[in-house]
C-alpha cells in the first residue's frame, strides 16, 4: 500500500473567488514561461506543472498543448 502524498495546488490569494478559471490558466502560463526561462530539464518548473495539472481539466491542457504546437495559443507565453 503505497503512501500517497496528500498535497495539491495551494489556495492562491490572487484568485480568492469561486471562479478559478484564471488560476488554472495562469499556472499553465507560468509553467511554460518557467520552461522558456530556465530550460526544459531543470526541475524547478515541476512545481508549476503539478499545480496546473491539479487545477485544469485534461481536455483543456490537451487543447492548449495543441495550440502551442500550432502557434495559436492565445496567452502570453
Amino acid at each position: 500500500m503505497a503512501e500517497i502524498e496528500l498535497k495539491t495546488a495551494p489556495a492562491d490569494f490572487r484568485f480568492p473567488t469561486t471562479n478559478q478559471t484564471r488560476h488554472c490558466f495562469t499556472r499553465y502560463i507560468e509553467f511554460h514561461r518557467c520552461l522558456s526561462a530556465k530550460g526544459e530539464n531543470s526541475g524547478e518548473c515541476e512545481k508549476f506543472a503539478k499545480y496546473y495539472r491539479s487545477l485544469c481539466p485534461g481536455e483543456w491542457v490537451d487543447k492548449w498543448n495543441e495550440q502551442r504546437e500550432n502557434g495559436t495559443f492565445p496567452g502570453p507565453l
Binding site: 496528500l6 495539491t8 495551494p10 478559478q20 485534461g58
Partner: protein, 387 residues
Amino acid sequence: MGLLSYVGSSFMRKCRKGNIGVSRFLHTSNFERKLILSGGTESYQGHFSKRSYSSLLAAGSDCRTTVARMRMPNIGSGGFSSSTYLSLAKRNSRSIHFDSKNSLPTSVNPEQIVQNSEIHNITTDVVKMMGDIPRWISQSVSTIAPCDAPEPWQIGFQDAATPMMQGIIDLHHDIFFFLTNIAVFVSYIMARALWHFSHKRNPIPQRIVHGTTIEIIWTIFPSIILMFVAIPSFALLYSMDEVVVDPSITIKAIGHQWYWSYEYSDYNSSDEQSLAFDSYMIPESDLELGQLRLLEVDNRVVVPAKTHLRFIITAADVLHSWAVPSLGVKCDAVPGRLNQISTFIQREGVYYGQCSEICGTNHAFMPIVVEAVSTNDYSSWVSNQMQ
C-alpha cells in the same frame, strides 16, 4: 415521524402492487425473483456476494462499505414496512450479524479485514437495536443510521456531514422559529379581522385612522426581528468565505451529457491523466438488493474524510450542477469555467446527490455519489486505481 410513517405506510400499502410510488423505489430484479421462487428461503448473503463497487476499494476494506450498504433496507423503512418484500428483506438482513466474519463468505479472509471501529460500532449498534425492539416499534421509530440520501416522504434536510451543511441547518432552525411566530401572528390577526367583519356581529365599525404608538411599535418590532434573522445569516455567509487552510486534494468533476467524470490529477507525473473515470448511473434493471433507484453509480467519488478538499466543477457541453445535499454543496458546472468548492467531510459514509441544472433528456439520470473513507483506505484506493 412515527405518525407520518404510519400514514405513509397505509398509503403505500395501496401502491405496493403497482408501478407507482414506493413499489418502484423497492424495485429489484434477480434477488426478488429468487426469493419468491425459493419460498422465502433464498439466502441474502449468498446472493449479495457480488458488489458492483468492489473494484473501488482494496480487498481489506470491502467489508466496511458492504456493511454500510447492507444497512440500506433498514433505513427509512418506517414508511413502507408493510410491504411484504421489504419485511422479508428486513428479517433476512436482521438475522445476519453485520461484522467482518460472515458478511463476505467467499471473497476475503477474515484476517485480511481491518475493522474500522467507528463504522463497525455504528452498524453493530443498529443491528442490536433492531433485533431487540419489537418490529412494530422499529417501524415507527427512526433508525440511528444517518440519512445521506433522499427518503420517501422526507420533509426535512438530510443529515449534515460538513460544517457548512450543519451551519445551513442551524440557520434554517433560527429563521424558522421567527417565521413560525410571524405566520401564526399574522394568521390570527387576519382570522380575527375576517370573523369580526360581519354586519350582525359588529354593526358599528371603528373609525380609527391614527395611532402613533402602535405605528412606531409595528415598525420597530419587525426591524428587530429582521436583525435576529440577519445576524446568523451573515455569520454563516462570511464564515464560509474564509478559506484559511490549503486543501490537501483537488478533485475535478466534469459534467457531460449525461454522466459525470472525475479527475484526480494530483498524482500525475505528466500531462496524461493518471486517475480519471466516468461515473454513470446504474440503470434500474441492474440494481441489486438495497441499492437506491436513480441514485447509484458504477464508480463513486472516493475521498478521505476529515481532510480539506477542493472540488473544481466544470462542464464539457451544457450547464450542469454538482449537488450533494448532505455535504451542503451545490455548484453550477459551466462550460469554459472552473468553479471551486472547498469542503471538509466530518464523517465517513456514502453521500448521494443529483444533477441540479437542466441539461437535456437524461438530466434526472446522472447522480453523484461521494464515498468518504479513512485516509489509509483512500491511499490504497488511489494506488489500486493507478496501477
